[in-house]
Symmetry: C2
């Protein structure tokens, strides 16, 4: 697979920042049901093999999942401190979780990629790659639900009950979701050059081309 120019640049930016765990954080914007822009940090979990799709994971109880059910698009923002480079990636979004795995959507999408099991395999592998702490989060109460201030931390029995409920398949929480971000436009800005360099990369019929633009 040939890498488009933006991906070659991104691979280099990640390499330059390989000692900085924060360099794997990017921001992801979505549109809420009530037409409000929303954004949050997500962690880059690599590229899906044989594609230019970026992977991230999340809890299906989080608000962005509802946003994507309405409108499965996002812009992704990635800033690299040392090299002073900014990437903005316009993406289509696919969310893989256990319910849509059961209903066959995931197998159908996998078949398009030439292997019906591929996404189920990636899904399980991403769960395995999580730290113990990160996994624990998927057995906690619903994100953004009010905390009972008289017992602000989760009680032991509640926690194990949730853990039991949560374990639905080979120990993977039912709330665990794999997010695939498929870029179709990349806006690259290099702030170390004078004047700044900016290029816009667009995909048409699976072909990437780019244009140099004013910063």
């Amino acid at each position: 697979m040939n890498f488009p120019v933006w991906r070659q640049q991104l691979v280099r930016s990640l390499h330059v920042h390989r000692s900085k765990p924060d360099a794997k954080y990017f921001q992801v914007a979505s549109i809420s049901k009530d037409n409000f822009p929303k954004l949050r940090t997500m962690v880059f979990r690599g590229f899906q093999s044989s594609t230019h799709s970026l992977m991230a994971v999340t809890d299906i109880r989080s608000e962005k999942i509802v946003d994507w059910q309405e409108r499965a698009v996002s812009e992704l923002h990635w800033y690299f401190v040392k090299s002073r480079e900014q990437y903005r990636l316009s993406c289509e979004v696919t969310v893989i979780y256990q319910d849509n795995e059961r209903n066959g959507a995931v197998a159908a999408f996998g078949a398009e990629l030439g292997n019906p099991d591929i996404l189920t395999d990636i899904y399980a592998a991403q769960w395995q790659a999580l730290s113990q702490n990160a996994r624990q989060g998927f057995f906690c109460p619903t994100p953004k639900s009010p905390v009972n201030t008289s017992s602000p931390t989760l009680k032991k029995d509640e926690s194990s009950e949730l853990r039991e409920q949560g374990h639905s398949k080979e120990g993977i929480s039912q709330y665990f979701a794999l997010v695939l971000l498929h870029p179709f436009c990349v806006d690259y800005l290099d702030l170390k050059t004078a004047p700044h360099t900016r290029t816009v990369h667009t995909m048409n019929h699976q072909q990437w081309t780019y244009q140099e633009v004013n910063p």
Copy 2:
């Protein structure tokens, strides 16, 4: 003026990071005309005096200005690396530039704040506070317009022509805009605590209250 809890926290986060210029960068999400989420980095230029509105500056030729003309709302994302705190601020947006200054909108808004001239004064002060380099950007070609690859950098005569066109009022570029971001909801997440602490702060009738929620 009493500071709501989120602002007291934000003041502390800024203080902890005072030696890091990058800590003044936040991400701002908007919705484009074609209903796509957009985001980019902006630089925090302080709070507007006697309010909780955050200030930033931009070029009125940038795409976010068009987004805000359609829908003057944004979410703002601010992550502090050292203290591992994330702020998400839902905001209404006001853009101050020379054209709307002329048509009286700015004076009207200023009058609401008790001084018709206050925004014109802040506008000029923000321009004065810019570095020479940052000011220069407002006399450059339109952001994201294609670069003529045979002459990728601006020619001297073009540059001075633009500078002349741009100087419309006391040396301030006509493209210079002051952006006021008025928060009405703040989602605060502290990642150094175990479990993580998250609070949602909302404004009702100019009163801020908050609720502790699950992370």
